[in-house]
Structure formats: structure tokens, C-alpha cells
């Protein structure tokens, strides 16, 4: 037990089960009345800056999808989609519906593999009291086997549509280099049908977890499409009045450098921090989910507004279910395009792309010259946008759990960070936890 009136320092050098390299420093004081005061909470991201924006300048406009895909091995399709749509905006190109559907399908594959890896392998052990998924697998082997099978399904869809599962190679400005046949896609239907049941079973499990009594009045920011659960089209909206075109993103959002992070922190100019990711999408687009997804969510009392970030694990299950249903819909209606892509030609201008990576909106803007050479590139990855929100979660959560010993406190803080499924590699453009009790 912590001593009253003492200061505490708890330090976790490398936080496990997040993607990338970073640290967390929490400075707190145990007060005589038994409560805890948080003096400082910082997410220190020390993943080396990778300068993607700098080395995109001077490259061909058509290279952006393949270069930006390298930012992340977990969500490359998000980077490819944002860069491709930004370039197509500049070129004034609209792709045929069949190509648009294929893009949605590969994005669904990415959501399935990324969400299932995180929720089952990285986040669920927190709730079930295991150190890791291997320990969890000893007691819950079928859960882990099903999760691995679901994840593989997502990866296989990416491989089929994108040429390979990590950093797909088939997507390009104007469409694809090669498109799958109807038969190749229909071969996924039996496994997707199995996936419908498996995703619901996973939801049934995670919904029984014990969730900390913790809620915040977040400003959620996500894309909003008039007719669909969003992937890359529509406006950027929030629950507190933000409603803008992609081109207006940096009119409302600002990025700033802070000393303790190699990632830029984002905030809404008028109000401050905001929250992107599954909770934001779900809360702002619940009406666009399928009836089955709505029914599954409501069965467990999960309906907008969901304000408890620990319940994001349930939402990831629901979104996995959605991605499976969407994949089935796309495949059943698929006809192979006559041509895998439409012709594109460069023209001078600026374009904007924004897509819903599994962990939140991934915003890109590029300026190119009339020869198609990139003059300027700017990328706002989701984890960078969530940094302030993660720090605030900790600052508000720790006083409620300050009675815990340092080990338990540390674990709970790590769990709170994992609520965001942070991809720190992306945001730098791993996590060390340090709690300092004064």
C-alpha cells in the first residue's frame, strides 16, 4: 500500500503489448487524506522520427501509396487509401464502383486482422488477469484459436486483394495493378460465414469483462458518410460541432511539438484535445452500422454515447463483425472490373485524403507540380492525434486508483493506454511507463 503523504515513482521502461517504442511518466503525490494528486502525466514517445513527409518531397506522386504504406505494418491500407484518394482528388479522378468496392474489401481485411490481434492477443489478457495471450491461451485455448483464425481471415483477404498481407502491393492511384477473380473472392464466403459466429462469440466473451467505472466527456472525431459506416469518404465530424471538408482539416486542427515526444500532438484549435478511433466512429456513426451489429452492441448495453474507453474492446468486436458482414456483401455483389485501374495524369494542385485506420482517422495532404512531383506532404496519424487524450485519461484515472500498489497501478495505466490500440511506430513520425510519486 502507498504511504500517505509520500511521493511515488513508478517506472515501466518498455510497455508491452503496444506497437512501437515509447514511455509513460506519471508524477503523483499521495495526500494525507488518502487521495492521490496527479502532478504530471506524459506519454513520452521516443520512437525515432522517420521523416516520411520529408522524403516524400521530390518523389513521383504515384509513389506515395507504396512509400506511406511503409509507415505501418499493421495498418498499411489506411496509409495507402489516404494517399491514393488525396492524389485522385488532385487528378480529378473517380474510380468505378467495382474498384471502390475492392478498396473497401481490403480495408475490411485490415480492420479484421488489426482489431482481432489487438483485442484478443494484446488487450483481453488485461481484463482476464493474465500477463499475456500465451498465458490466456492455456485457460482459453478455443478463444485464442478462433481469434487467430479470424486474424488469418483478415490477412488472407489482404493478400488476395492486395498481393500480400503486409504492405500490400496491388493498390495504386487509379485503382489496382491486378484485381482478383470472382472465384478467388467467393472462396472466402464459407470462412466469412464462420467469422460471423466467431466475432459474435468474441463479443459475448469481452462483454462479460469487468470494466473500470471511468467515463470522460470526450470530443470524438471521426469521418461521417451519409450512407455508410465510414472508411475513407465523407466529412470529418465531431460530437461537439466540428463538421468540415477534408480540405479544411488544418483550419480546425493544429499540431504542436512537445519536448517529451517525437510525435506531434494534435488539438482542435477552438477546444483542445480530441479522441479518434473505434469509440469515435461508433458514437458518431452508430446509425450506419448493420442491424446485426446494432443488435449485438445493444444486447450488452453498448449504445452511443459510449464514454468509457475500456469498453472500446467491445466496440472493436462489433466493428470486426461489421467488417465481416461488409466483406460478405461486397463479395456477393462483386464482378471483376474490365480494367484494374483507370488512367490518371498529374496536374498541379493540392489534394486531401483521410481514412479510418483501425485506430482512428489517418489524414494526408499533398501538393504536386504539373509533372507529378510531390512538393509538400503532411500526414497526421491517428496515434499522434490521440496522445493528448491518452495523457488526460491517465491524469483522471490515476486519482481513482491511487490506492493501488505500484504494480497494480502500473498495470491499470498500461491497460488504459492499450484502450487506444496505439501504434506508436506510426505516430512518429513503444512504451515505457514511469510513475513518480512525490
Amino acid at each position: 500500500m502507498p504511504s500517505k503523504g509520500k511521493s511515488r515513482t513508478i517506472k515501466v521502461d518498455y510497455m508491452a503489448r503496444v506497437e512501437g517504442e515509447g514511455a509513460l511518466h506519471i508524477k503523483l503525490k499521495d495526500l494525507p487524506d488518502g487521495t492521490v494528486e496527479v502532478r504530471d502525466a506524459k506519454l513520452n514517445i521516443f520512437e525515432p522520427p522517420r521523416f516520411f513527409e520529408a522524403f516524400l518531397r521530390g518523389r513521383e506522386w504515384t509513389e506515395a501509396p507504396d512509400i506511406t504504406a511503409r509507415i505501418c505494418g499493421i495498418c498499411p491500407v489506411a496509409y495507402q487509401s489516404s494517399s491514393i484518394t488525396a492524389m485522385e482528388m488532385i487528378a480529378g479522378v473517380t474510380v468505378p464502383q467495382s474498384i471502390r468496392e475492392l478498396r473497401r474489401l481490403i480495408y475490411c481485411g485490415e480492420w479484421i486482422e488489426s482489431h482481432v490481434l489487438h483485442l484478443a492477443m494484446l488487450h483481453a489478457p488485461d481484463f482476464l488477469g493474465y500477463d499475456d495471450a500465451i498465458q490466456m491461451a492455456q485457460d482459453h485455448p478455443q478463444v485464442v484459436k478462433d481469434a487467430l483464425r479470424l486474424k488469418k481471415l483478415g490477412n488472407d483477404i489482404m493478400t488476395c486483394v492486395g498481393g500480400r498481407e503486409i504492405h500490400p502491393i496491388a493498390m495504386k492511384v487509379g485503382g489496382f495493378y491486378k484485381t482478383p477473380t470472382v472465384e478467388e473472392l467467393q472462396a472466402f464466403l464459407p470462412e466469412l460465414e464462420w467469422g460471423l459466429d466467431a466475432a459474435q462469440a468474441l463479443t459475448d466473451l469481452v462483454a462479460t469483462f469487468e470494466f473500470p467505472d471511468f467515463e470522460r466527456d470526450y470530443e470524438f472525431v471521426a469521418m461521417r458518410h451519409p450512407d455508410e459506416y465510414p472508411l475513407w469518404e465523407g466529412r470529418i465530424v465531431s460530437n461537439k460541432g466540428l463538421d468540415c471538408e477534408l480540405a479544411e482539416f488544418f483550419d480546425y486542427i493544429e499540431e504542436e511539438h512537445v519536448r517529451h515526444s517525437t510525435s506531434l500532438h494534435s488539438f482542435i484549435k477552438a477546444r483542445g484535445e480530441y479522441h479518434v478511433g473505434p469509440m469515435a466512429r461508433f458514437n458518431l456513426n452508430f446509425d450506419q452500422l448493420t442491424p446485426l451489429c446494432q443488435e449485438v452492441a445493444e444486447k450488452y448495453g453498448v449504445a452511443p454515447p459510449v464514454l468509457n474507453p475500456f469498453k472500446s474492446i467491445i466496440i472493436r468486436c462489433v466493428e470486426t463483425l461489421w467488417a465481416i458482414e461488409e466483406s460478405i456483401r461486397i463479395i456477393k455483389g462483386y464482378t471483376q472490373p474490365d480494367a484494374p485501374s483507370v488512367p490518371v495524369a498529374p496536374r498541379a494542385g493540392r489534394g486531401y485524403g483521410c481514412s479510418e485506420a483501425p485506430r482512428g482517422i489517418c489524414f494526408h495532404t499533398y501538393a504536386i507540380d504539373d509533372k507529378g512531383i510531390i512538393q509538400d506532404a503532411r500526414i497526421a496519424p491517428p496515434t499522434a492525434q490521440n496522445q493528448k487524450s491518452m495523457e488526460s485519461d491517465l491524469a483522471l484515472l490515476v486519482p481513482t486508483i491511487g490506492h493501488l500498489d505500484d504494480a497494480a497501478l502500473t498495470l491499470k495505466c498500461e491497460q488504459a493506454i492499450r484502450n487506444y490500440d496505439p501504434c506508436i511506430s506510426c505516430s512518429c513520425h513503444f512504451l515505457k511507463l514511469e510513475i513518480d510519486r512525490e
Binding site: P48, G73, M121, D132, I134, A137, L148, N155
Partner: protein, 166 residues
């Protein structure tokens, strides 16, 4: 995936990131070895996360993996680890860029009874895992001897395999 093969394969998997210093060991040795591999050996580069690793093999396969090691031992130290003899230490392959690395993938396979018939990991203790850096000289030199060891092991495996399935 269920194991439907009667006869297992001999699989050589090269893991690692070619652009992250000594993490390039797997792809580097893989590229050299694949030129002279016995016909029976199937080669693949694998740069996905450890959670997907077990999907690469069938239960009857004989699997050989190359990856860089970060265990705190002397740089250039050579390792040949038989996964059936003892568990892999967590964080041993710390420098996988993914949250669920080789050790976790192998140990998960063990818990789920998904280890292949043979699983041997070849590794060298790395020195530098910085993004954008070249492989260090100490690891490059050590890799020459490891390459010979892998060739010998694979050749022996091929002979045993042919006898077994003759």
C-alpha cells in the same frame, strides 16, 4: 488451418526487417541461402507478426527460422535453439518491430499444440537495431559461420526426410 498434408515440408523462414540494422540478419542470410537451397526446401521471408507465424506451417513440417537475437549476450554470439527442447525466452527476439514477436508466436503455438514436428531457430546476437542502419560488421562476420551451419542442417534434414518418406 488444419493439417491435411500427409508428408510435411522442410521450411526455411527468414524473419526480420532489412532496414533496421542487425534485424536484417534473417532477410540477409535468406537471400544468400535461397540461391543454393536443396529443391526440397521451401523458403519464405516472413515480416508479419508472431501471431501469424503458426499459420505459416503445418504440424508435420520441419521448420527452420532465422532471426536476430537481443538477449544481452556478447554481440555476434551464435544461437541454435530447438523449440522442442525448451521454451523460448520472452523478449529474446525483442527487436521484432511487432508487439507479438517470434518468441510469443512460438510459445503460443506450443500452448495450442501447433508446434511443427521440428522447429529450430538460428540466431545471432545483434548489436545495433537502429532504423536505417546497416547490419554491423560483427554480425555480418558471425553470419558466415551460421550460414554454413544452416546449410549443413538443411542438407541433413533433406537426407532424413528423403529416407523417411522414400
Amino acid at each position: 488451418m488444419s493439417d491435411t498434408t500427409h508428408k510435411g515440408r522442410i521450411l526455411l523462414i527468414a524473419m526480420g526487417n532489412p532496414n533496421r540494422g542487425d534485424d536484417a540478419l534473417g532477410p540477409y542470410l535468406g537471400m544468400k541461402l535461397r540461391k543454393t537451397l536443396p529443391e526440397l526446401v521451401v523458403f519464405c521471408n516472413y515480416d508479419g507478426d508472431g501471431a501469424g507465424l503458426m499459420a505459416q506451417w503445418h504440424l508435420k513440417d520441419w521448420v527452420y527460422v532465422i532471426d536476430a537475437v537481443a538477449s544481452g549476450q556478447e554481440h555476434g554470439t551464435q544461437y541454435i535453439l530447438d523449440a522442442h527442447e525448451k521454451p523460448l525466452q520472452s523478449q529474446f527476439f525483442h527487436y521484432s518491430s511487432h508487439a507479438f514477436g517470434l518468441s510469443e508466436g512460438v510459445e503460443m503455438a506450443r500452448v495450442l499444440d501447433r508446434l511443427p514436428e521440428r522447429l529450430v531457430i538460428f540466431g545471432i546476437e545483434g548489436k545495433d537495431y537502429t532504423h536505417g542502419h546497416e547490419m554491423t560488421e560483427v554480425v555480418r562476420l558471425a553470419s558466415e559461420q551460421l550460414e554454413v551451419e544452416i546449410q549443413k542442417t538443411l542438407q541433413q534434414a533433406v537426407e532424413e526426410h528423403e529416407q523417411l518418406y522414400a
